[in-house]
Each structure stands twice: as C-alpha cells, then as structure tokens.
C-alpha cells in the first residue's frame, strides 16, 4: 500500500453514553500506523469529546480523554471542530483541552492541533477527503 490517501475520521457522538467515541479513537490510533494523510473532525455532540476537565468518577467508567493528548505524538495533528456545533452547545475554544503537536518542518515548534472551522469549511474538508470513517 504505497499510495497515500486523505483519511478523515468524523466524530459525531458525546464521549460517554455510548462507546462510539472511544472506539473511534482506537481506530485513529491504529490508523496512524498506516502513514496516510489523516485528519479528525468533531461535529454535533462530538465536540464534547474534546472538553477539558472530564471526570467519569461518578459514572464508574474509564475516562479516556487524556488519550486525545497523545494524538500529536502519532502525527495526528489536524483536528477540525465545527464552530456551529460549539456555539449551539454554549462552548468556546476555552472549554476544550489544549491539544498540541511538534512541527518537524518548523524546528519542532509546538503548535495547536485544534482548528475551529465553519460548517461550510467542514463540508469542503469532507469533500476533499478520499475516505470518511464515521463514528
């Protein structure tokens, strides 16, 4: 498999309540080994996946939010979050975990992985992708 495709993982569900978000993150981590052009989208309730200070103690289930911080080390550093989905839920960028990566093309400067995009821009990103993995 020498060809490189543009893969986009689309997260649409809240992190808890169903397992989709966690099992989606597992796909992203495994998929990183395939050396493709990867980006991850967060829309609808999927934006909650990136909220900071997640605490699942009351639920008695695993808090996997720290795993998102490892994405940068896996060269998964294009995280697109839909502006309209954030706004509809009363969230801003300040409510999200700061996720960063080290840019090897810029003397390993630390850069933000999260980019807020409009639904129109998100639609264009979908259009430009070769494969959409929906969760």
């Amino acid at each position: 498999m020498s060809e490189t495709k543009k893969l986009m993982y689309v997260n649409r569900k809240a992190p808890y309540g169903t397992i989709y978000a966690w099992e989606s993150l597992e796909v992203v981590l495994i998929g990183a080994a395939f050396e493709q052009d990867v980006s991850v989208a967060f829309v609808d309730d999927g934006v909650y996946q990136l909220c900071k200070d997640q605490d699942t103690t009351g639920l008695g289930i695993k808090n996997f939010s720290a795993t998102y911080k490892a994405l940068g080390d896996y060269d998964v550093n294009k995280l697109y979050i839909e502006k309209e989905s954030l706004e509809a839920r009363g969230l801003t960028l300040d409510d999200l975990m700061p996720l960063v990566y080290e840019d090897e093309d810029d003397d390993w400067a630390e850069k933000d992985s999260i980019k807020v995009v409009s639904s129109q821009e998100m639609a264009e990103l979908f259009e430009q992708s070769d494969v959409l993995f929906n969760f």
């Binding site: 989709y20 099992e23 796909v27 998929g31 395939f34 493709q36 494969v131």
Partner: protein, 130 residues
C-alpha cells in the same frame, strides 16, 4: 466498483445490520466487488453462530455466513470490540483461557488495521449504523 462495508450495530436492536446485508447482496448482484465487510462496535454481535431467532424471523448471522460462503466474502470482526463483547474464535479462546468459542462460519477475528486497509483499498467505504 470495489466496495467495503462497515457494520456498526448488532443484528436485532438496530436495522443497520440487515440493511448492510441487503445492500451487500444487491451490490454483488449488480456486479460490484466487495473487498471486505468489517464489523465494529456492537456490530461484532453479528458474528456469533449461537443466535436462535424464532423460525419466522430472519437469522441475520446465518445470512452473513451463507452470503460469505456463496461469494467468498471476507467478514472481519474487530478483535478489541469482540473481546469486550464476548465474540470468541479458537485462537481467542486459547489466548484468553475461555471455555468455548462462538464465531460463526465465514467470520474471522482480526485487528482494526483491517478497517483502515479496507478504507484505503476500496473506492467506497459504506458505513451502516447511527
């Protein structure tokens, strides 16, 4: 066209599995190639041979097995999702010290890389589920 199918829901709670089954049949009849069918999330529950629905209802797991046998389909169950939900083949039985296995004929348990590969190798990845 070369297609891959992803099934994200179990066989009876949700119509996704039977829709995927019907879609796969129709695609094969129309002359398309099915590179792989990948079962993820609760979709792994399609891969047990122990389902026994009433006789007047469709046996969805058996239908997948029959379709795989007829067309040589590659039915892959995600190992991590299967381990969580108790879908076991002989290898998993041995590795995890279980007292039996329940994988249905035509299904195999493998890793998530099989889903990524299916996405890369196919012209379309068609996903069934919410």
């Amino acid at each position: 066209m070369k297609l891959s199918i992803q099934v994200n829901e179990g066989p009876y709670n949700h119509e996704a599995s039977v829709s995927a089954l019907n879609y796969t049949k129709a695609a094969l009849e129309a002359g398309h190639e099915i590179f792989r069918v990948f079962f993820y999330h609760d979709g792994v529950n399609n891969g047990t041979r122990y389902t026994t629905p009433p006789q007047d209802d469709i046996n969805i797991a058996n239908s997948w097995s029959e379709l795989a046998d007829k067309h040589g389909l590659d039915l892959v169950v995600c190992v991590a999702a299967a381990q969580r939900r108790g879908i076991v083949d002989e290898g998993e039985q041995e590795r995890n010290g279980k007292d039996g296995n329940n994988i249905a004929p035509g299904f195999r348990i493998s890793g998530l890389g099989q889903l990524i590969e299916a996405g890369i190798q196919s012209e379309r990845l068609v996903v069934f589920g919410d």
